[in-house]
Amino acid sequence: MRALASLALAFFIFAVLSVVLSIAGKISPQVLQTAFSSEEVQFAISLSLRSALVATLFALLVGVPSAYALARFEFRGKEVLDSLIDLPVVLPPLITGFGLLIFFGETEIGKFVTEHLVRVVFTPYGIIVAQFFVATPFVVRTTRAVFESIDPKYELVAQSLGSSRFESFLRVTLPMAKKGILAGAILAWARCMGEFGATLMLAGATKMRTETLPIAVFLNISVGNIELALAIAFIMLVVAILTILSIKTVARLK
């Protein structure tokens, strides 16, 4: 049993390392240098970082209160709601993006938003909307688990000391949950950085306009510019490793 399990583990580790090394092995300092000095890569890095940050902030803004409601309140249809929130995780991002494209392009509400608030379809704002859809369920899931692990009596005791519900949440529960929320936010941010399918559908793949890192990889491969694609892939690999490291660090924080 032990040997068999070890074998399975070794196999998968080998598979993961193969992927990592296939990318990293083809990278030379020169390739990276060329990539970093390319205006296109610089643009993609900057756009990815910024859009992922904004999308994650929105995801937190919506996700944390939603998670709190799911963790603390009992109401009818809670299970249905819970499943709906998970839908964007299970649904292929391409389909989510397709749905969003139709929503903003064809429906009355979508058209109203486009005309009066912000144009989303085939613009950089579309990236943020697409990433937000993918990131929010992550925030809700992780944060809900954190809230559920905190005994509600802390809040009740805070209220008996004179705090309002909201104040007890802000001063007691939220600080107690912040580590878990931060870990969830980092994961969500990493998801945003890698978001491709929904972005492609809603924001399109326009060079130097809606070109995030994954879109850049896609565009460069499609025109046969393998070296640049590899360099960007390598950057994303580094981002992924940094993400894992930072989550581990957060977990160890006091």
Binding site: D151, K153, Y154, L156, V157, A158, Q159, S160, L161, G162, S163, S164, R165, R171, V172, P175, M176
Partner: protein, 351 residues
């Protein structure tokens, strides 16, 4: 005054039901009951953490049943729920409104002797210290009522004792009403002015500590307040005196109803004497065989006795047991100093 009126709350296995209970201003009131008797739920209803199915909680004439938790002036004090993200100082200061927060924190911290802990985080404190901080935090908001949920639970003996004395001292210093729940009857009799014995959500008996100790209403209360010897028998009248007959013949003080009864004898009322000429009384003296002797606390021992085939449990001072050289197999003379008929109408009289 805190009044609980017609309170009903359905719990998993039983109904919490209190017809009427009054706790006076500044009183130290204890709910005594085994775990699962509904004590914590009752406290949580008073605090507003939970809503009753029906009934009212009235504080100083005002119905607070539907008031939100933070407007009740009733504070839950619980050492396990110090806010882990704040220092002791911030914890104590949490509920203080207005300017003089720092001075107020110092003042209550000094009162509880925890000034040296102010900069520490709750998870670095011992359990006793956590309880003190929780009490300081509750006192700092100057509430009308402080609710204490088993505050002395799972403390080591020394801390238990010092914190118990501290609670008593602090209560005497403030004008706050303390409502304390516990399963420990020693704790209850040391602290309470009045208490209620709770069982499966109902009050079995409520009254002053003395009243309950001297006159437990039924077997459950008697057992709970430490009456170790319960003998079944009957009371008869003989030459103007009331005598209990049931394995042992015990002459009772006062007047009683004749008939079947359970007689309660507190272990400390079974006096072990070395010779048969009892100095205190001439009646209720028996020969007994020592079945077992074991330490109960640092200063007391429990002695299990066989009196004419009836087992009696006695408690005595350790030094006395040593002086007498009390050991298994000894024959001693005992004197039953006092006995209380419990549950006089508990089982039907024999026809």
């Amino acid at each position: 005054m805190l009044v609980i009126e017609n309170l009903r709350k359905k719990l998993e296995n039983f109904m919490l039901e209190i017809e009427r209970l009054e706790v006076g201003d500044g009183e130290y009131f204890v709910f005594l009951g085994s775990s699962g008797a509904g004590k914590t739920t009752l406290l949580e209803i008073i605090a507003g953490f939970r809503k009753p199915d029906s009934g009212r909680i009235i504080l100083d004439g005002e119905d607070v049943t539907n008031k939100s938790i933070n407007e009740r002036k009733i504070v839950m004090c619980h050492g396990r729920y110090l806010f882990p993200n704040m220092s002791v100082e911030e914890n104590i200061g949490y509920g203080i409104r207005g300017g003089s927060r720092k001075e107020k924190v110092r003042e209550v911290a000094r009162m509880l002797g925890i000034e040296h802990l102010l900069k520490r985080k709750p998870d670095t404190l011992s359990m006793g210290e956590q309880q003190r901080v929780a009490l300081a935090r509750a006192l700092a908001v100057e509430p009308k009522v402080i609710l204490l949920d088993e505050p002395l639970n799972s403390l080591d003996r020394l801390t238990h004792e010092s914190l118990l004395l501290e609670l008593k001292r602090i209560h005497e210093k403030t004008e706050t009403t303390f409502v304390h729940v516990t399963h420990d009857f020693i704790e209850a009799i040391s602290l309470a002015e009045r208490m209620a014995v709770l069982r499966y959500g109902k009050i079995e008996q409520c009254g002053s500590v003395d009243e309950i100790l001297r006159n437990p209403k039924n077997l459950f209360v008697a057992k709970f307040v430490g009456v170790k010897n319960l003998l079944k028998g009957r009371i008869v009248r003989e030459n103007g005196r009331y005598v209990f007959e049931g394995g042992l013949r015990i002459v009772l003080d006062g007047t009683h109803e004749c008939g079947n009864v359970v007689l309660g004898i507190r272990p400390e009322d079974v006096l072990i004497i070395s010779s048969s000429n009892c100095k205190f009384r001439s009646e209720n003296v028996f020969e007994a065989e020592v079945l077992d002797v074991y330490p109960l606390t640092l200063s007391t021992v429990r002695v299990v006795l066989d009196v004419n085939g009836i087992e009696l449990v006695a408690e005595t001072i350790k030094s006395k047991a040593i002086r007498m050289g009390l050991k298994r197999g000894d024959t001693v003379t005992i004197c039953v100093m006092s006995a209380i008929p419990v549950a006089e109408r508990l089982y039907p009289p024999v026809s």
